[in-house]
């Protein structure tokens, strides 16, 4: 009896060792970075955490396919390193000593990735399933781009400023015109341009004689 039990156990152990090893068929490598994610609040990776991991994988399998009857014992972990990283496979209890196809496992994990991450207080980056890519969430886009709102504010300020300055300029112009017309009515036009004591109006340029000697334009300019 004891010998039979020992024999079955050893067969199961060998079978498990065959199924779960690095780069085995349908096996996935998991890499966990607890210290990076949690810093001082990091917990240690021990057998209890491994148990939780098996439970989460089994949960994911059951949730993915309602027909699935995956037990915690169906999830095999091996090659746990200090990193922390390990390999796992999911065996099929209905068919002896076979593993569930990788694509099914991948789809199940993908669907429940968020739940698995949250169980360990980790994220997609710190709980890595190598070979399973995660869908990236799109950035939040508000209905109106923010920059358009800011631009609108800036433009309103500019337009208001320009209108204010133009209107005040027109008002000043009108006031100056009113004052100058009042000033003109009060005093006579004393402004007479004089040239050598002779009022300019008196000089009839067309009738005067022009002395050709002094007529050259150069004198007004600086000599070279």
């Amino acid at each position: 009896m004891l010998r039979a039990l020992l024999f079955t156990l050893s067969v199961v152990a060998i079978a498990h060792a065959e199924l779960c090893k690095p780069d085995a068929q349908n096996a996935f490598k998991v890499r966990i970075s607890i210290k990076t994610a949690l810093g001082d609040n990091a917990y240690a990776w021990d057998a209890n955490e491994e148990y939780l991991f098996k439970a989460m994988v089994a949960f994911a399998m059951r949730r993915y396919s309602s027909k699935s009857t995956t037990q915690i014992s169906n999830v095999l972990l091996c090659n746990v390193t200090d990193r922390v990283s390990f390999w796992f496979v999911v065996t099929d209890s209905s068919k002896n000593v076979t593993t569930v196809p990788g694509s099914v496992v991948e789809a199940a994990i993908r669907m429940n990735r968020n739940r698995i991450n949250n169980a360990f207080l980790l994220s997609d980056k710190t709980l890595q399933f190598l070979k399973i890519t995660s869908t990236l969430s799109p950035p939040v886009e508000p209905s109106t781009p923010v920059w358009l709102i800011v631009f609108g504010v800036v433009l309103c300020l500019i337009v208001a400023g320009i209108v204010f300055l133009i209107v005040s300029g027109i008002q000043k112009h009108k006031k100056k015109n009113k004052e100058s017309t009042e000033g003109e009515n009060l005093e006579e036009k004393v402004e007479v341009t004089l040239e050598n004591g002779i009022p300019c109006e008196a000089l009839d340029l067309k009738a005067g004689h022009i002395n050709g000697v002094f007529a050259a334009d150069d004198e007004r300019f600086t000599s070279l």
């Binding site: 990193r83 990236l136 800011v150 433009l155 320009i162 300055l165 000089l203 022009i210």
Partner: protein, 611 residues
Amino acid sequence: LSSAPESPSEDGRPKWDNKLQYILSCIGFAVGLGNVWRFPYLCQIHGGGAFLIPYFIALLFEGIPLLHLELALGQYLRKGSIGAWNTISPYLGGIGVGSWMVSVLVSLYYNTVLTWVMWYFINSFQEPLPWSVCPLNENRTGFNEECYESTAVNYFWYRKTLNITPDIAESGTLQWWLILCLAACWGIVYLCTIRGIETTGKAIYVTAIFPYLVLTIFLIQGLTLPGATEGLIYLFTPNLKTLKNPRVWLDAATQIFFSLSLAFGGLIAFASYNPTKNDCEKDAVTVAIVNSMTSLYASIPVFSVLGFKATTAYWDCLDRNIINIINEFDLPEESIMRQNYTSWINFFNSSYPEKIAGLKLKSCDLQEFLDQSVSGTGLAFIVFTQAIILMPGSQAWAILFFIMLFSLGLSSMFGNIEGVFTPLLELQIIPKSAPKELLSGIICLICFLIALCFTLGSGSYWIDIFDRYAASVPLLVLAFFEVIGVVYIYKIKRFSKDVEWMTGRKLNLYWQITWRFISPLLLLIVFMAFVTLQMQKPPSYAAWNPKYEGFPMKEEKVYPPWVQAICVLLAALPCVCVPLVVLFHLVKQKCRRKDPRLVPPEVFSCHGANS
């Protein structure tokens, strides 16, 4: 035959409310974007602290004399650039026209740079900053390919902002978001320059002082960042060997020249609104020294932030290598830290060389990250924005940074627009009864419509062309003619008397020597060296082409012949004004001399003192 200038109240010319406005306007014009993104770069590549030696020598023998010349000229003649040079001698009127033309060309493209700053500013209110994350691709399995291969910051600049085309010949389409921002920028410029110095004089209080506040805040913040000291040590460690390279001296001379915004006509315009009995000598020295000190002051926060960015990049590089090693050898987390990385890597190299080689680890060298020097728009829109993402409270820093850049650029725009506005006002393009607001409105509208070209897909390539050709060689030529014109045609003795009359003391020997010999000689040497250097390298540009094999490196392309023709035109047009005007007057004189009866009866002119 120099007529005594009229006192300010009689000729109806606008004037500054107080001396501070004038000084701030000149400082604001001189201090621009170049002080922040060109000077630190030059310091870095030319041996750090050692660069200050040629810089201050250039300031002493080229910057301050030329600045004093322009301010004295404008203040004495009380006219804008075209009017002032026509007064000195009609044969030299071409200098004024050339300056005016350069001011127009620079106003066009400078405001487009401010458009980019405004675009980044209004995008800084988002959380997270739009240049910090890559957008997803269509089926949401990964990031956008162009963004993934370069960086999110590069993607936002080249694709989301410029929507750049891979070649200058491909114009692409008008980018509507840039058109909106361009309209806003020209609106702000119109708002501030609507009545000439009456309105810019008020605006300058904010736009000239605000950047200093922000620079101080960035200085304090920058010095607290990790890696800041590495950046500063790297910047300021002098490497005197670089002084043997003549390129360093050329760069120092050109930097001083372009930084002070000489030969634009804007400084002459500003000075022309001064009362004549004003100490222009002290003003010139003040403005020049403040400009250089600002450059130095700005380089400290810039380099603190660059040091911080280099250190963070170095740490990221180390961390990536560490993760790779830990994953490969399944070691526990945090067993390899940055401090003992080198000892671990040596151990692994000796015991498992093939595995380490298989990992393809990048070599992480802090010096290499610090050596990545960038200037110009690359510094502001790529390097700095990346550094800002890493700082806590990035929105606030981004907003502050871009407002600072905007004020720096805006105060320089005031000077450019004054250089365009004042001569046109004097030439009386619009009737005197029409308000000034109309002229400034027309100028801003026309410039806005022409600048729409820069909002095309290839716009930033064109801005590089304008920057390299329109705003470089013509200014050197015009400044050379300015000095020669004043010293040898107007005659230095006469000018010294004028300056003495204004400042109330005799002209120092220093000014006599620099104006007569040193500055013209220096300008000639700089001009020849500059042109020779430009001729040596073929006119090429770096294009952003996602389909290029070396992407994300930029593709070196040569300008097509029609673009090269435009480059030559841009550089030659302002310069050619000078001989053209001389020719025009010679021809006019010959025509007059041929027929004395055609002499117009303008001898008894009653228009008041016209000179």
